[in-house]
Subunit: 104 residues, 2 copies
DNA sequence: TTTATATATAAGAATATTCTAATATGTTAT
DNA sequence: ATAACATATTAGAATATTCTTATATATAAA
């Protein structure tokens, strides 16, 4: 049973990096190619590929090559459900401090 | 706006350790003292205090001293909502592999 | 005020994560 | 076949995390 906490923690490690969260948020509605992700984030190609590789190895995203491009998408919308709950908590806290998400 | 992803990631770091997840799961319904947590987990006092300290610094739990004991509880039930969504994803995956959570 | 019980903090070795730079591989067009 | 474009992998320095050991602090009981 303690093994389950380890697997759970391994999965949450994916969410513990801001670059990966940014990528996941971009993938919330539609699949995107690496090139598109580069364009939207201004991050380096290498870095994005590395993070996508990490997320793929944890089964958070899947990839699909279409010609020269490789498209990535979420394996389940529940990932974004969890993402959004944490955002709600953060938004509440900011609000309590007189700030809004938009200000950041 | 990229700042928000960093705060979000900081919060998720709390969930990226199996011991902390175990503690959070024990705190899901009721507040517990450090001694009670030691009894339920068989982890060392120092280790539990350290993890509680980390979670307190990230505002995931709050503490309340009552006599000799210090009781900890979750700051918001949304923490457990997010926890449970990830568990659902893991349970689905195990099921697809012909296993159940109970087996672990 | 000393003792016992409960909890917290500090220091440091072992381990893990992240980014950058260099390079490799895969696909299409010429 | 080779050039151009898209993506993946490797290696390593810098940094962060985790656990253990030792010790400190806080409260209550004797």
């Amino acid at each position: 049973m303690r093994e389950l906490y380890k697997i759970h923690a391994e999965m949450c490690k994916v969410f513990s990096n801001s670059t990966r969260l940014e990528i996941l948020n971009l993938l919330r509605n539609k699949e995107l190619s690496v090139t598109e992700l580069i364009g939207k984030t201004k991050l380096s190609q290498v870095n994005i590929s590395q993070h996508l590789s990490i997320m793929k190895s944890k089964n958070i995203v899947t990839s699909d090559r279409k010609g020269k491009n490789v498209y990535y998408k979420l394996t389940t919308p529940k990932i974004i459900k969890a993402f959004d709950i944490i955002r709600e908590v953060l938004a509440e806290r900011l609000r309590n401090n007189g700030k809004t998400i938009e200000e950041l």
